[in-house]
């Protein structure tokens, strides 16, 4: 897939993606949520989210929905990252640096292994 340079490229990409989608089973997508409240931002949540974006981009990971949200409401645990694999429960991680986020992507999102030592009670 060549680099997208224009809106027309995007439209072509969309058509291709729709074809692939029709062929594939509905296995669902992985959701990743990063808390982006004032405290989270001050604690580095933007950099944590950026490292997740970079990982998706570099590893060319399909079927990921990444969202940011306001305060997740877990005081003192920022930056907070939540991972929801298809048909699995929400796993919440706390105090996640960009390096830790990359590990979560490698271990949990790609291989399906929850990293217990980063996990917090939500």
């Amino acid at each position: 897939m060549p680099t997208i340079k224009s809106i027309d490229d995007l439209k072509r990409l969309r058509e291709e993606a729709q074809k692939v989608k029709e062929l594939r089973d509905q296995t669902g997508k992985t959701q990743i949520i990063v808390g982006m409240g004032t405290v989270g931002i001050a604690a580095g949540a933007r950099e944590t989210l950026k490292s997740i974006l970079t990982f998706i981009e570099e590893q060319r990971l399909p079927d990921i929905i990444l969202r940011q949200t306001g305060n997740i409401g877990l005081g003192g645990q920022d930056p907070v990252v939540q991972v929801i694999l298809p048909n699995a429960e929400t796993v919440t991680y706390g105090k996640i640096t960009p390096a830790m986020a990359t590990r979560i992507m490698e271990e949990h999102v790609v291989k399906g292994n929850i990293i217990q030592e980063f996990r917090i009670e939500a």
């Binding site: 809106i7 995007l10 990409l13 997508k29 990444l66 305060n71």
Partner: protein, 192 residues
């Protein structure tokens, strides 16, 4: 916070919390007039004059009012420390416009920081909002309205790796180009 870009991200989060469907982020660097302007304009639910007064006062802001912007008073203090100001123009049901002005060359002015990452975070992380990013460096303007590109995407998620690449490059190149062209023209800045 260490960067004005992080403040912008924080202010924009308030607009998202106010249920805005369209948010315009404007950054203007005018080195001739020696001014830096930040503006976030939304069509969210707006605030009463009372609430506006509250979010501007750091001593009133407490944990229970955090949802409407602990960060605003911090940005206000930062602007005032740099011969600037922060103002909020808000109307219930119509929306809110927040403006912050800094003396560009002020020694205490926080760096703008990573503007691109702030914009990318907002565009890619909040698909439901129509984002408009306006950046001006002296007389050079870069503007990105994500509406057309989102329409072109259709069912393709914003977190598709090719989309991430496209948005990142578009924003990064746009900002850099605006800065470079002005530099190449050899404009003499008032504060240099």
């Amino acid at each position: 916070m260490r960067e004005l870009s992080l403040h912008l991200l924080d202010i924009a989060e308030n607009s998202i919390s106010a249920d805005a469907s369209r948010i315009v982020i404007s950054v203007r660097e005018d080195l001739v007039a020696d001014e830096l302007w930040l503006e976030v304009t939304d069509n969210g639910k707006g605030m009463t004059a009372e609430t506006v007064a509250k979010v501007l006062d750091p001593f009133v802001t407490s944990r229970t009012t955090r949802r409407v912007g602990l960060g605003i008073s911090l940005l206000k203090q930062a602007a005032e420390a740099c011969n600037g100001f922060l103002s909020i123009d808000s109307e219930l049901g119509k929306g809110t416009k927040l403006t912050a002005k800094f003396q560009h060359s002020h020694i205490d002015r926080m760096p703008l920081g990573n503007l691109e990452d702030t914009i990318i975070t907002l565009i890619l992380g909040t698909p439901a909002v129509n984002w408009v990013f306006f950046y001006q460096f002296n007389d050079q303007i870069f503007e990105f309205d994500d509406r057309e590109f989102k329409e072109a995407l259709g069912d393709l998620p914003l977190s598709d790796f090719r989309v991430i690449e496209f948005v990142s490059n578009t924003i990064k190149d746009g900002v850099q180009e605006a800065r470079n062209i002005t530099t190449k023209k050899g404009v003499v800045y008032a504060n240099h």
